[in-house]
Symmetry: C2
Subunit: 359 residues, 2 copies
Amino acid sequence: MSLTIRDVARAAGVSTATVSRALVPGASPVAEETRARVHSEAERLGYRANHAARSLKTRSTKTVAVIAPELANDFFMALAEGIACELDAQGYTLLLATSENSQEEEKKRLFTLADRMADGFIVIPAGAGGEHLESLAGRGIPLVLIDRLVEGTNFDAVVSDNEGGACALTRALLADGFRRIAFVGGDSAISAARERFSGYLRALEEEGVRPEPDWTLFGGMGVDDGYRRMGALLAEKNPPEALVAVNLLVHLGMERRLLEYHGGGGEARFRRGPYVPVIAGFDESRYTPFLPACRYTAAQDALGMGKEAGRRILEKIRRRREREKVPGSAHNTEERAAGCVIRMPVAIIHHQSFGGNYG
Amino acid sequence: MSLTIRDVARAAGVSTATVSRALVPGASPVAEETRARVHSEAERLGYRANHAARSLKTRSTKTVAVIAPELANDFFMALAEGIACELDAQGYTLLLATSENSQEEEKKRLFTLADRMADGFIVIPAGAGGEHLESLAGRGIPLVLIDRLVEGTNFDAVVSDNEGGACALTRALLADGFRRIAFVGGDSAISAARERFSGYLRALEEEGVRPEPDWTLFGGMGVDDGYRRMGALLAEKNPPEALVAVNLLVHLGMERRLLEYHGGGGEARFRRGPYVPVIAGFDESRYTPFLPACRYTAAQDALGMGKEAGRRILEKIRRRREREKVPGSAHNTEERAAGCVIRMPVAIIHHQSFGGNYG
DNA sequence: CTGTTAGCGCCTTCAA
DNA sequence: TTGAAGGCGCTAACAG
């Protein structure tokens, strides 16, 4: 059916070996004239190399797999776009898959894609377990984590300065005079959530403020979770004046619950209501300016994080290939450098145009 | 390095052919006892089939490529999740790539992925041109469009009832008593935009209303475009009372511009301002309840569309394989059935809880 | 039901 | 600088 290297060889009057050499950039030397002829013939015939055959031979697919807990998530996809940007520049293809927020799925995907010989992986871990990741790394497959760390492991990673961001967010609320501040949402299996929580605690401690025990319960990372926790807080006799949301989804759920609480009848409800809290939340997006209770957000540099992770994985892939070139180096020469964690700064944004002013 | 089928064969005391037959589900008959032994040995050794070798032989990768204009887009990713859901169920892998809103990129990606032998493609076209798509289809590669059609082509497609949705949206505004209604955003290269615009026109005609010429200019599909168009409308001496937004991004830009216009100082601005329009827009999301001017949205069933497209592509892949089984059938037996376009209904949602009430 | 055999298309020593 | 030849791991005839 389709054209092979042999067709090109015949057309150009050379051997298949020469065609291969002429077509692969970094290959052995070929006479300039020959190379040109091969290229023009290949072009003329519309030859396209068979990727499977090449992979079978070279054991490389020029592919990096990215596994995200979900696809319909602005932040994760912004990370993915950053990664894609870096990979494209190097002729690599991005393979995007979802773990559906399940470690079991994550593991399956990971192995499926490893079988397909992805050259490397960038993973946003769905949970706390890291055995499957270790197992990949044990096979010598390059891996870098992004956005979240996995406790007890030592992988290279690119994450935000979650602790610092949450601390800054909380400090901003304290500086505004609030003392009764709750932390909403979170999941102890997710490093970003733990770090943000501890940043919140640190800021409070600095000011000698102690939060109510009820206000420091984790409650999940989704919209529903924020909705529920907000509902619980509304039921308290003396609710917090300000809130720190662990992420945008939780933040959104909280705003939704507040909207309902205030009766949803004309905007004046926000002044009329007995309870008007202020929210500071992680993640900035196109939508945060419209969230009524939102006063501060911590903006992560998702694109930058993605690019950084892309660079890291390409570097590891390159090093691996080099290592395997040298037959002398046994498998135990396997890169065992300590996992290097890059923390990217976050920017605190003050939303004064909307929600910041009704309090 | 890694285990091959031969290692398993040796361990199980059978030939490689038998191992292959035992491991592939739909293969030739194998004695139950043999199959069990092969499976247990494969398991014990931790054998994993080499995908490249298998693809090289079978010319199939069990992969469907999805090309979207961008990744960080809730609607596109919701389509992708619908597709993934269907593919997973059939043991196929989703390969997600982005065209970065460029036809040139779309074309490159398409060919790259075709070389990697994706078994089929689901494309959200970035623009109006369809030569590259035709070229793929000419090679007999299964393809279905989603969300947008390409003029002058005849591919299978799954789209929303854009015309009907926009018409319903506009009718709702008319029923509320508005007569001066503008259409904002759009791109003549994108079928969904054209269809929505014509739905808007139809509703107006039914009521004998004629829009200002300025109010029917397309102006792009992004946030910035909505922002700019809204700015232009604000500058008019007699601006429209109501607006139909071509999509959520444009809608968002419009809301942003309105926010600024009203001065961003406390919520009372919405009553104080001289100009308080109502917006009806395509796409429902978690955020639309918070958009102050938003009264109606047309909710597309993205998940359902994705699933439908997934089913369609798998069906085409299946048929293609069958067709190629029969050697008698020449290439011209190639499926040439008229492209079947499925139109999914949209739901009109009334946002009364927030923006709908201040007008 | 199972083994033998012959490639799939490409890259890569080894010689020339 | 180029050609010849072998094999990557797997599947699909064809015999047995």
